[in-house]
């Protein structure tokens, strides 16, 4: 296989096709619409199901139905659409059927805007819907990673009969970059035994998320939690950058992490001993790796394109071992490498303790001063 120059959303859609998706149900929303448009052409060519639903509610309940029927199914959306889907996401988790949701994130809350953002971190990582459940969340930083993680997402969804999100920052959906697609996978010959496909010669299969007797629901909650613990044990993914001799460390994910990696290279050239952990699985979160790291660096800088949603998970991992600083751009603004470089130098020179919560106060002062100066 060779690399091709592909638009993010198109490449993700083709990756899903090659991973064996047999049902795509979606609703147009910027910046995810090209995913739907690509599937509108591609799925019928292969004799697979494509449908533009009446709403995101309709779309995700169709995904839910197709998932119960035992085929690989997915939808692609953005924040406002994901909010509407929350109901079905909880049902999918409660029914224990596999499904994949690609969220091409945009600025919020409300209608917000259509510029890139990471502000749906909590919505996905913490579940979004009602009840006790635990979705897997994968955060790619390049078009290639998104392609790879879509394949992985289906495998994880099937392995654990779980809900898997791909948290794509808006830029990735819209940008073009060279990437390589995986080969086309064959489709399964038989539906999974647990799915609904007609009870010929067997007892009926019933797929439901209702456990009306509390002891039954309790057992279900325990099963879901234990499965999640298994996922935490086996599936945590993150990428390390220059950590061997690092004195300060960045924690950042997705496109923000990618920008940090270029700032990090420059900082290294300038003699700063900085490293980075970029979580790939936002859930399960690489808590242990970050805890270990916090024992050998003197300071941590968390960078996100939101107001510090992952920051809380980092704090929990670090447990007060070292001071944590925060830098974020919000509202659909992507930080520039120079901006992060400036932060790296500042953090490297800072020796003061930071009381819990003050990292955000100080960040806001710096950010508002930057906005005041008219800097990008």
């Amino acid at each position: 296989m060779t690399k091709e120059l592909m638009k993010g959303n198109d490449a993700f859609a083709e990756a899903a096709v090659r991973a064996g998706v047999e049902g795509f149900f979606g609703y147009p929303i910027t910046p995810a619409s090209e995913f739907l448009e690509y599937m509108a052409k591609r799925m019928p060519e292969l004799g697979r199901a494509f449908l533009q639903a009446e709403s995101e509610i309709g779309a995700i309940h169709m995904v839910y139905g197709a998932a119960c029927a035992g085929v690989r199914s997915l939808t692609a959306t953005s924040g406002p659409g994901l909010s509407l889907m929350s109901e079905a996401l909880s049902y999918i988790a409660g029914t224990e059927v596999p499904a994949v949701v690609v969220n091409v994130m945009r600025g919020g809350p409300g209608l917000g805007n259509i510029a890139p953002s990471q502000s749906d971190y909590n919505q996905m990582v913490k579940g979004g819907g009602h009840g006790d459940y635990f979705p897997i969340v994968l955060a790619p930083a390049t078009v290639q990673e998104a392609i790879d993680y879509i394949t992985l997402a289906f495998d994880l969804a099937d392995k654990y009969r779980a809900l898997v999100f791909i948290a794509v920052d808006g830029n990735l959906g819209q940008m073009m970059e060279p990437a390589e697609l995986p080969p086309m996978r064959g489709l399964p010959e038989k539906p999974p035994e647990w799915s609904v496909y007609g009870a010929e010669g067997r007892d009926p299969n019933i797929l439901t998320s209702i456990y009306i007797d509390p002891p039954d629901e309790e057992v279900t909650n325990i099963r879901l939690l234990k499965r999640w613990m298994e996922i935490e044990k086996n599936e945590i993914l993150y990428k390390e950058y220059e950590l061997d001799d690092a004195e300060i460390a960045i924690i950042s994910f997705g496109v923000a992490g990618r920008i940090c990696s270029s700032a990090l290279r420059t900082a290294r050239e300038e003699g700063v001993k900085v490293g980075m952990i970029r979580p790939i699985t936002l859930a399960p979160f690489p808590t242990e790796a970050i805890r270990e790291l916090s024992k050998r660096v003197r300071r941590i800088l968390v960078v996100e394109m939101n107001t510090g949603q992952m920051l809380n998970d980092v704090k929990q991992a670090v447990g007060g071992n070292v001071p944590i600083e925060f830098y974020g751009r919000i509202g659909g603004i992507t930080p520039l490498p120079d901006e992060i470089l400036e932060e790296i130098h500042r953090v490297n020179q800072n020796t003061e303790d930071i009381a819990d919560g003050q990292e955000k106060v100080q960040w806001l002062e710096r950010l508002e001063a930057r906005i005041e100066r008219g800097d990008q």
Binding site: G65, T95, Y197, A199, E200, I206
Partner: protein
């Protein structure tokens, strides 16, 4: 030796269990009609039911075929997802009036608009049963419920909706009829309509819905026989029985 003929038995499409439905409730009748039709058509083993949220939330316990349980109102979307990836299976939804005509209005209307090749059994008893007798979208004007304690004031609470008529205006609808379960003659007519609605799907003719006027003695505070009288005397005048849309190719079907 006396020759004996079996004239009544439990359909194979039914599970050997008792239901949780109240005495005098017609859900059991509606369930049985569906089960008989599946048996007679020989399609039990390929049928997938989609249960609603409401009194029939546990419908899957009573049918001997594959079943899924939808979120409130979303059964037509879930059925769509199943049917689109498993077109050779028979897929039907079983929904009450709160489920289908209130919270699930968008899903049912758009399933009809798409001419989705599914069968819909719509139970209209003019009230929310499971949650304890609140006003339904089909509650009659003036009817007292726990959320319209002084009677449904249409100026404030809006008017009851006639779903069979409404869906009949949609090009994608192939079959939209209203029947009633208040007496044996009407039960027989209901079964015929259910049979036709499944035949429509088996022949790939598109969206079919049978609305069944039903009783809820518990929440309407009637005896079982009063509840049946209420259907005949109060509901039928507001919700006339009849065929609202029968596409020409459906009309030509010999059932």
């Amino acid at each position: 030796m006396i020759e004996m003929e079996v004239v009544y038995s439990r359909p194979e499409s039914f599970t050997p269990t008792t239901t949780h439905y109240c005495p005098g409730c017609t859900h059991g009748t509606a369930h049985r009609l569906v089960a008989e039709v599946l048996d007679e058509m020989g399609i039990r083993e390929k049928t997938i039911g989609v249960a609603p949220v409401g009194c029939s939330v546990f419908a899957y316990d009573y049918f001997n075929h594959d079943f899924v349980e939808a979120a409130h109102g979303r059964a037509p979307a879930m059925a769509t997802g199943i049917k689109r990836v498993r077109p050779n299976n028979t897929v039907y939804t079983y929904q009450g009036d709160g489920d289908l005509a209130s919270i699930g209005m968008a899903e049912i209307v758009h399933a009809a608009i798409r001419g989705e090749n599914i069968t819909v059994i719509f139970i209209n008893n003019a009230i929310y049963g499971m949650t304890g007798g609140q006003m339904a979208p089909t509650t009659l004007p003036g009817m007292r419920t726990t959320s319209s304690p002084n009677g449904r004031d249409v100026e404030v609470m809006g008017y009851p909706v006639r779903m069979s008529e409404m869906l009949s205006t949609i090009d994608g609808t192939s079959y939209s009829v209203r029947r009633s379960l208040h007496n044996p003659a009407n039960i027989r007519k209901s079964k015929k309509a259910i049979r036709r609605a499944f035949e429509v799907q088996e022949r790939g003719m598109g969206f079919a819905m049978v609305e069944l006027l039903s009783s809820c003695p518990t929440n309407l505070k009637f005896t079982p026989s009063e509840a049946l009288n209420f259907i005949e005397e109060q509901m039928v005048p507001y919700y006339p029985l009849g065929d609202y849309k029968v596409a020409p190719e459906v009309k030509a079907l010999k059932v």
